[in-house]
Point group: C2
Chain length 281, copies 2
C-alpha cells in the first residue's frame, strides 16, 4: 500500500485553510513566513518556491528573500535580527545548506526560538529531546503525521533508522521512541546494516544514496519511509529501490509524492503553531 | 574484567586537583559549586554529601543548601536567580527528584545554562543532540570517561541501551552514536527485549530494577554498564545480577564502585568546565 503523502498533505491543507481563516477572524491578520535563501542553487530555489506556494494555498503570507551567495554572515545575522523584532513576521526559515563561509549553527541560533519553524534552534532541539512542547523539525514531524493518517501503530514495534542527522535521523528516532517503538540507529559505520534492517517493522531511510535499499534489506510486511530525494538522469528517486521493495512492503512512500509533501505540510503546521503561541503568550 | 569506577575516579581526582591549583594561580580563586537540596530524603542527602566531599578533595569550594520540603517553587526560583547573578558561583546543581508540587523543567531551566553542571538545561540538552560543545549530563559523561579509561572501542559495535530517560538512557545513546556505535534503545514497551540485549556488544542498563538483568539477557564477551542503584535489604545492588553476568561478560561495572564514582568525577569536570568557559568569554 502506497503512503500517499501528496494526498494526505492536500487533505491537511483543507483543514489548515479553515484554520487560517479562523485566525484572521480572531486576530485580524494571517500568519506570515519569511524564507531566506542565500545563493541560487536550483534545488534550493525549487524548495523555497514550493514552500511559498503552499503557504499561499492555505491563505498565509509568505515571501522569499534571496541573497547573493557572497553575502557575509554578519549581513545575514543582521537581517535575521531585524526580522526577529518585526511583529508581523511569525516564522523565519533559513534554507539549508548555507554557503561554506557561514557557521550554520550560529546563523540558525540567531533566529528567535519563537520564530523558528524548522525546529533547528538549539532550544527547540533540546525541547524535543527532553519531551517538552516545542517546534519539531518539519521532515520528522511530517513522517509522524503521515503514519498517523494511515493509523499505523508503532507501539512495541522495531523501528530502524538509517541515518543519524540532526535534521531527520536523530529526531525521527526520538519521536518514534516517544511512540513506544524500539528504536535502532544504523549508519555508515554500522557493521552489517542488513542484520538490523531485516528485522525492522518500520524502516526510515535518510542516507542520500539513490536506490540504495533493495529487497535484501527488508523483511516481508515492512513499512518503509523513504526520505531520500536524489536526482538521477533528470528525474527524482529516493534512497529506496521502490520497484523492488514495494513488492514485499506492507506500506511504502513513493518519491516524489511521499515524505516531500508531508515536510511542507509540517512546515505550515509549525508556522501556524508559532503564530498561535505568540497570541497565547 | 571489572570496570573499576572507583579507581578511575580517584585517578581523575589527582589530575583535577592539579588543575584546580593551576586555576587558583591563574585567576586567584577556585571553582565553586552550590548544591540545592529540597527536602530530607536520606538517599538525596547521601548523594549531595558525597558530591560536596568530592569537590573539597580536589580543592574546590562547595556548599549544600538544604531547603524544607514545603518550600514554594517561587522561593526556589528566586534563590536560583540570585545565584545566577552571583559572580563567585560557577555551578548550581539542583538535586533531583524535586517535591511533587514543583515543575522540574521550569526549575532546571531557571539555572543559567552557563552555571548548569548537570546538563539538564534545555539549551545544553539541545547542544548535546546537535553535536555542539556544551555540558553533558554527569552519568552519561562518566560512563564515556570510564570506557575511555579502559580503551574500550565502540566503533561499529552494537550498543543496546535499556532505558530512555532524559538523564541517562537518551543521552548515553547519543554519545555512543557519536562514537560510531550502532545504537538500539530498549524499554518497558519493547517486545522481547532479550532479542536485542543478547546481540549487544555493549549493554547499558538504566531501568531501576534490582538484579533484573541475568545471564539470559547477554552474550558471552559483552561489556556491561550497570547504572542502577537499588537498596535491597539495606545494601546497594545494581540493575544487573553481577554474580551471574560477570561470569560471561568481558567487562562489567560493579555496584557500588562502578558508574557512581564516575558520575561524581564527571560532575567535577563539568564545574571546572563552566569555570574555564566563564574566564574564556
Amino acid at each position: 500500500m502506497i503512503l500517499d503523502g501528496k494526498a494526505v498533505a492536500k487533505q491537511n491543507e483543507q483543514t489548515l485553510k479553515i484554520k487560517v481563516k479562523h485566525l484572521l477572524d480572531l486576530y485580524g491578520r494571517v500568519p506570515c513566513l519569511k524564507v531566506i535563501l542565500v545563493g541560487d542553487s536550483p534545488a534550493s530555489m525549487a524548495y523555497v518556491t514550493s514552500k511559498k506556494k503552499a503557504c499561499h494555498r492555505v491563505g498565509m503570507n509568505a515571501e522569499v528573500i534571496q541573497l547573493p551567495v557572497e553575502t557575509t554572515e554578519q549581513t545575514l545575522i543582521d537581517l535575521i535580527q531585524e526580522m526577529n523584532d518585526e511583529k508581523e513576521i511569525d516564522g523565519i526559515l533559513i534554507q539549508l545548506p548555507l554557503p561554506k563561509h557561514m557557521n550554520e549553527n550560529k546563523v540558525l541560533n540567531t533566529v528567535s526560538p519563537n520564530k523558528d519553524v524548522d525546529g533547528l534552534h538549539t532550544l527547540n532541539a533540546g525541547k524535543l529531546f527532553t519531551k517538552q512542547d516545542g517546534i519539531i523539525p518539519a521532515t520528522p514531524l511530517g513522517i509522524i503525521m503521515l503514519l498517523k493518517a494511515y493509523n499505523i501503530d508503532l507501539f512495541g514495534k522495531h523501528a530502524v533508522i538509517m541515518g543519524r542527522s540532526n535534521l531527520v535521523g536523530l529526531p525521527i528516532g526520538k519521536l518514534l521512541l516517544d511512540l513506544n517503538a524500539t528504536v535502532t540507529y544504523v549508519h555508515r559505520e554500522t557493521v552489517d546494516p542488513k542484520k538490523y534492517t531485516k528485522d525492522a517493522d518500520l524502516l526510515v531511510v535518510a542516507i542520500g544514496k539513490a536506490n540504495h535499499v533493495d529487497q535484501s534489506f527488508v523483511k516481508k510486511g515492512v513499512c518503509v519511509i523513504d526520505v531520500g530525494i536524489n536526482r538521477v538522469d533528470g528525474s527524482l528517486v529516493g534512497d529506496v529501490n521502490f520497484e523492488e521493495v514495494s513488492q514485499v512492503a506492507s506500506y511504502i512512500t513513493p518519491v516524489p509524492g511521499g515524505v516531500g509533501p508531508m515536510t511542507i505540510s509540517a512546515l505550515l503546521h509549525n508556522v501556524i503553531k508559532q503564530f498561535e503561541v505568540k497570541y497565547d503568550r
